[in-house]
């Protein structure tokens, strides 16, 4: 019984299942549509809450229609709805009506990363003063552990500028150039930060467990002291150890 019921819930074109009744055994008719409506509305609202910038960029009507297509192709695979919509970036890459907006998948990736950061495990941050006391050669030999909330997004688009222009009243228009973004959660509120040139490559190396020296090599021209200062201020580093 669950199979035909579930299939008809997700497909409005499908006949209502047989054997459903209203008062006195009469056919249930549009009573079934209450469930159809509950499923579509609740999942659409979950996507609106999860992707507010995407919804703003596309407009409420378009977003609702797109959510209807998405939720039928990708219903949640878990009752833990905080993770719902992980397929959105890949969906947007092949959804023809938005082919002219090629930055949308990265906007969706940024919004998913913000949600992951919000629910990530807490971690005690590293005290930056201990690092400042180290001589440069020992500093360069350090590798770091990162707080679970830290999320790196490397993008071909000015994704931070797009996000900011749609969340912050009076924000400047997005720049023309690509932006790598790191999400930091110093307390409980995750915030995205644009990385300086080379910062994406350097941070990717550090997150992969490579030393500061290796990060400098991976990203020549990156202002590493500025990057480390940003990470420390955002509570991103939880431990450091010297490579031997």
């Amino acid at each position: 019984m669950n199979g035909p019921f579930a299939a008809a819930l997700l497909d409005p074109a499908r006949e209502r299942p047989a054997g459903l009744t209203g008062p006195g055994g009469a056919p249930a008719g549009r009573r079934f549509d209450v469930y159809r409506n509950n499923v579509a509305v609740s999942l659409t609202e979950a996507l609106e809450r999860g992707f507010p910038v995407l919804a703003r960029l596309l407009g409420p009507e378009f977003f609702k229609a797109m959510a209807g297509v998405f939720l039928r192709a990708h219903p949640p695979r878990s009752p833990v709805m905080m993770g719902y919509g992980a397929e959105m970036p890949a969906f947007l890459e092949t959804f023809a009506p938005v082919a002219h907006l090629p930055y949308l998948p990265d906007v969706a990736r940024l919004e998913l990363a913000l949600r992951r950061a919000y629910h990530a495990a807490d971690a005690a941050p590293l005290d930056g003063a201990a690092l400042a006391a180290l001589p440069p050669d020992r500093l360069l030999a350090l590798r770091f552990r990162f707080a679970p909330a830290v999320q790196l997004l490397r993008s071909d688009w000015p994704v931070h500028g797009i996000w900011r222009a749609n969340t912050e009243p009076g924000a400047p228009p997005p720049p023309k150039s690509a932006q790598d973004v790191v999400i930091l959660r110093p307390d409980y509120d995750p915030a995205p930060h644009p990385l300086p040139p080379g910062g994406g490559a350097a941070l990717a190396a550090l997150i992969a467990g490579r030393t500061l020296a290796a990060a400098a090599e991976a990203a020549p021209g990156c202002d590493l002291p500025a990057l480390i200062a940003l990470l420390l201020a955002g509570g991103a580093l939880t431990d450091a150890e010297e490579a031997r």
Binding site: N2, A6, L20, T21, V39, P75, D122, R185
Partner: protein, 284 residues
């Protein structure tokens, strides 16, 4: 078998469904609200503000954990990963009660995010009992099972809802959660008498009561079709049914559920106050 206190250690006073926007309203002073209920699935992240708030609330209030995703009434086997998440949450929080619904929400791996109805037959009874047994075994504690708000029935149904619920409680030792708004919604939608339903309900098995708002609609034939929306005040006939249940069964932990268009705290507190008045009018 579990006795009723083991099924619910909630105080027999008013509680509300916790909403994060009310945190600062209630953390110091929440009266007349004595306890809070959370939806289990909203607290299955690894950390951050939701978990920090929950820890703070747990130090201050008795808590009830209410699951909305186990799909106990479904044909499929229970999701073991989800059961493990629930065990983790209930393990560290040690809430005063855990409850779930006589409904299903997952089929073929897809979670449909709604509480869907099931026919009441011998086969579905066996399956629900197996699922309740499994939940209680994994959690190591008894649970409460909630009567559903339904919009339709099934031609194959062969038992009435109260007999079905009582049989589950009898076989598994679980308690029941009586949602009085669901009674009003489902009975109206079936063209049955909600007063007769409440009068027949085995109140000695009830460890918690839910009250919430509903919306009015009509079906194809123009008959009343009530929708369990949790988006407004509890309706007057639902308060009357509730008072009738409390007069017969004595005071019970009573929750105001308001999940959509959530009001400011004073409005929600006033609803809890109305429950407190009814609870205070009968001897314990």
């Amino acid at each position: 078998m579990f006795d009723l206190p083991a099924r619910s250690r909630l105080p027999a006073g008013p509680g509300v469904g916790y909403k994060p926007q009310h945190f600062s309203n209630i953390i110091d002073r929440a009266d007349p609200v004595e306890w809070l209920e959370i939806h289990a699935e909203n607290y299955m992240g690894d950390g951050g503000r939701p978990i920090a708030q929950l820890r703070a609330l747990a130090a201050r209030f008795p808590l009830s954990v209410h699951g909305v995703g186990l799909s106990i009434g479904g044909e499929a086997a229970l999701d073991r990963e989800h059961l493990a998440r629930l065990k983790h949450l209930v393990g560290w929080l040690d809430p005063a009660a855990f409850s779930e619904h006589l409904a299903w929400s997952t089929h073929d791996g897809a979670f449909l995010n709604d509480l869907l109805p099931l026919p009441y037959t011998r086969a579905t009874l066996d399956r629900v009992c197996d699922h309740v047994d499994q939940v209680q075994e994994v959690l190591g504690r008894p649970m409460l099972l909630e009567n559903p708000a339904t919009y339709l029935g099934f031609a194959e149904t062969e038992m009435d809802e109260i007999a079905f619920l009582a049989a589950i409680a009898g076989r598994t030792g679980c308690g029941l959660l009586l949602d009085v708004n669901n009674v009003f919604v489902a009975c109206t939608n079936r063209r049955e008498d909600p007063v007769a339903y409440v009068d027949r309900f085995p109140l000695h098995l009830v460890g918690e009561i839910h009250l919430g708002g509903h919306d009015d609609d009509r079906d194809d034939a123009g008959l009343p079709l009530l929708i369990d929306s949790h988006g407004r005040e509890v309706a007057d006939p639902v308060w009357a049914l509730y008072a009738r249940a409390i007069a017969r069964g004595g005071p019970k932990p009573t929750l105001i559920e308001w999940d959509n268009d959530v009001p400011d705290w004073p409005v929600l507190a006033a609803e809890a106050g109305r429950a407190a008045t009814i609870l205070g009018g009968v001897p314990a």
